[in-house]
Symmetry: C2
Subunit: 504 residues, 2 copies
């Protein structure tokens, strides 16, 4: 979405001299408001609803003071304050939104962001330090992020504290006069003030484009500090109480338009292009050795160019994901990759947004993350076994496509998705083989047999998954795995040729 | 423990020209060894035993190559490689051992450290960049760390790859000749080589002092690379297989000498020095306001001097921990503190060492971490309810004292420990009050009543806890909490006066 002059303004006509409150009124009103907010906090905790409060605004608009006032009403054991400024070393080499994803609150807790992805996007734009994003890209990223969280049940409140240029100047000057705060007012800060008029339309537009129905902005006239605090409280209380009523009345965000992506079906074939050679371990030797060199070279180039890579594996039980990963990993420098085995989520993971635990493991710039099973569990096992609602897996296709696109665009990296296909007969053969081999018995469990009984349901889920998430920038590759060794050769070839294009 | 010339050498007589293996023998032997290691890895996974492998040695001794060889035998989904070098921004402002504690493996996984706390201690010593530690302090820290983990059931294997000065020179020169690796050989690296003779006794001594029965060093003549790899494999397989046998035979590390610390009993009194004033909310107002200023000033000074502070709360149910924390927090700048509410551990936390989840939340330099309940749960609820073995809570007193001492010495920070005491009658009164007040009913649960039935057992546990962990550097303060407001005043006074001493 390009910057459109036609987008209605968010910031004009906000400042009004009537927006002031005298000290006496403030002191009288604030107490009961704080009590109500405390009660609301507890209600949200019991209802297991996560809340995000975002405080944004011009420099010196009073973000720090307003945040402190809100916090004063809350039980400190139930919230976390995230003050967002320069990223750390670790955050710099991650996707842009990673540092915010890792800070989203679990159910029942409140996360307060003093500055956020909003400011950081503008900073990055002003300084052109962002990888490939323009402000337009940021808008899409941010709206996707906020939509995913609110669709999942998080309540998001965003406040922008607005002051006009004259007021900002008055405040900077007041700070300079006081010895306690003079050190805060740097030349850089004055530069931001002089850029006020230039920034105004950019910020105004950005606010407009991120002012969505699921996550609207509350722009507050922040000229009078006491008025600001009361206005924030009023909005918080009104929005949160309304949410509680809606949720209690059963009006949950559990249904809606999942916005299914287009279908691009692909065939699953157990046949493998390398199969004709009936490539046995011994014969595959030389082929695999030469592939090793190319794999190492590829990895070194990715590292040098600081390009992150995600490789993820899904497939039938016993299709050979483990062996495949082991062979791939063996060809890489161990310092440059991590293998993430994905199992059933624990309590902490279940209390966060479904993607939270995966995004935590997204690779740093130049590194490779190999996922053994992945976020696709949502549309596979969770769909078939009913571990999530129909709405949740139906909207997951779009959410997954958005998340993968965001990773690719914000980091310049790549995502390889492998589906390991075997025939139903081959699976039975392998199950029996494992059952009867004392050295391999550990590989087969009750779950494996139970999943097999639902083979047909999985067929449907798999086809749907491949059709809806086979995107141009993050395509699926079906690896025919009846022949294990051929499968491994095919996989490594796929990785090196994909990276060759990525590195062009 | 001072550096003693009398400590037996670890490094003399290690180099022996016979320690070589020809390529043909290596290729013949390595295959079966890798297979055995793979089987052992699976056995450890099923037995839920965590394993730490530490690879250390001189520069150019072959740590990277040996690590890669070991990894080649392992299922990549079951291990994580940690390459330890310069700390990140975040790690620099944490206690020295924090970056290693956060990387310890959960049950059933293997963590491989390519370089570790050993090298980093020496680096810090050589460059005097460590806070307050000398090498002697590092020795204590490291032995405590390794003992806590091995007592808890982790298997630790430490390898030191030793080469003599001439061999190191040969390798540096070889690296310089090859264009692929020449960039690795910096002037700084040559400086380390020229310091070989000076470093030798320091490293030798350090190895000796950290060569413990629970975590011995395996020093390997690393002159011939193939010999090195086979030697490492042999040791790994022998040690790990022996461990499996011992554990299977019931010889677990579940019992031993808990090494109880001395008892220094302290009285618990519900009376409060401020109680005589029957300080009600209204009357406490002015006192609390002046305390606020002092609290803010204290916090600002801690921040400026980069001194971290831990405040932890334990107490009877309904003693008023929550309200006390809220009042303290209210007086602080929210950017400088975090409140960590501690609940029953989830699956991930249970699969790590008991301390892991708390150490994760230790404060950065200049910050304050307030724990609502803490690691003392081990010797309170876990002891009374039998959630842990007797050996586990009995050795916890010493482990806790060691952990707290390590934090204080390695960061120059402080720890305040508050026990909130109320009488049994007062607790009943508050329970009933909550039961009958719709606004406060959420505060009382079945657990509260059940804990009350075990009051006498808790009395014993609390007295033992206070007696054994009331150390000079991290003392307990009993807060008489029958009168809530007096309790709050006493707590804030305790914090500010403790910090005054800390800041001297």
């Amino acid at each position: 979405m390009p910057l459109e002059p036609g987008v209605p303004t968010m910031l004009k006509n906000i400042i009004n001299p009537k927006n002031r409150v005298d000290k006496k009124t403030f002191v009288k009103k604030i107490g009961p408001l704080q009590e109500r907010l405390g009660i609301i906090q507890r209600a949200f905790r019991e209802a297991h609803i996560p809340v995000i409060i975002v405080m944004e605004g011009w420099d010196a608009a009073g973000i720090t003071r307003s945040t402190k006032e809100v916090i004063g009403a809350l039980d400190p054991r139930g919230f976390t304050l995230h003050t967002i400024a320069q990223p750390t070393d670790d955050e710099r080499v991650r996707p842009f939104m990673w540092r915010f994803w890792t800070r989203i609150p679990p159910k029942g807790r409140i996360a307060i962001f003093a500055r956020s992805w909003f400011s950081r996007s503008i900073s990055a734009e002003m300084q052109r330090t962002s990888w490939t994003k323009s402000l337009a890209g940021s808008i899409i990223s941010i709206n996707n992020f906020e939509r995913q969280l609110t669709e999942d049940g998080t309540v998001m409140l965003k406040f922008f504290l607005h002051i006009d240029k004259a007021e900002q100047k008055r405040r900077f000057e007041a700070r300079e006069k006081s010895p306690l705060s003079a050190w805060l007012v740097t030349p850089a800060l004055w530069n931001l003030h002089h850029a006020y008029d230039l920034s105004f339309p950019v910020i105004d537009n950005f606010l407009g484009e991120t002012n969505t129905s699921f996550s609207p902005w509350h722009v507050i006239d922040a000229t009078n500090e006491d008025y600001t605090v009361l206005a924030i409280y009023a909005t918080l209380i009104k929005t949160l109480e309304r949410t509680l009523e809606e949720r209690a009345a059963g009006k949950t965000i559990k249904s809606g338009d999942p916005l299914l992506p287009k279908r691009h079906p692909i065939k699953r074939n157990t046949a493998n292009p390398h199969h004709d050679r009936s490539c046995q371990k011994k014969e595959c030797g030389p082929t695999l050795d030469s592939l090793q060199e190319e794999m190492l070279r590829t990895q070194a180039l990715l590292f040098k160019r600081k390009i992150p890579l995600i490789i993820l594996y899904e497939g039938w039980d016993a299709a050979g994901k483990g062996g495949n990963i082991t062979r791939i990993a063996r060809y890489m420098n161990p310092r440059g990759y991590d293998v993430i085995p994905v199992n059933a989520p624990d309590a902490t993971e279940l209390s966060h947004h479904y993607f939270w635990r995966f995004i935590n493991y997204f690779p740093k710039a130049g590194h490779i993350a190999i996922f053994d099973r992945s976020w696709y569990g949502r549309v596979l096992v969770e769909r078939v076994e009913g571990y999530c609602t129909e709405y949740e897996w139906q909207r997951a296709y779009r959410e997954i496509n958005d998340m993968e696109a965001d990773f690719i665009y914000s980091t310049g990296g790549g995502i390889l998705k492998f589906w390991l296909e075997i025939s139903k007969e081959e699976q039975l053969r392998r199950f029996n083989q494992r059952k009867n081999d004392p050295l391999k018995q550990w590989k087969i469990t009750e779950d494996d047999w139970r999943n097999r009984e639902k083979w047909d349901q999985y067929e449907v889920a798999i086809d749907e998954m491949l059709a809806r998430t086979n995107t141009k920038i993050a395509p699926w590759t079906v690896i025919g795995s009846d022949d294990k060794w051929a499968a491994r050769v095919q996989t490594i070839n796929a990785v090196t040729s994909y990276c060759r294009k990525l590195l062009e």
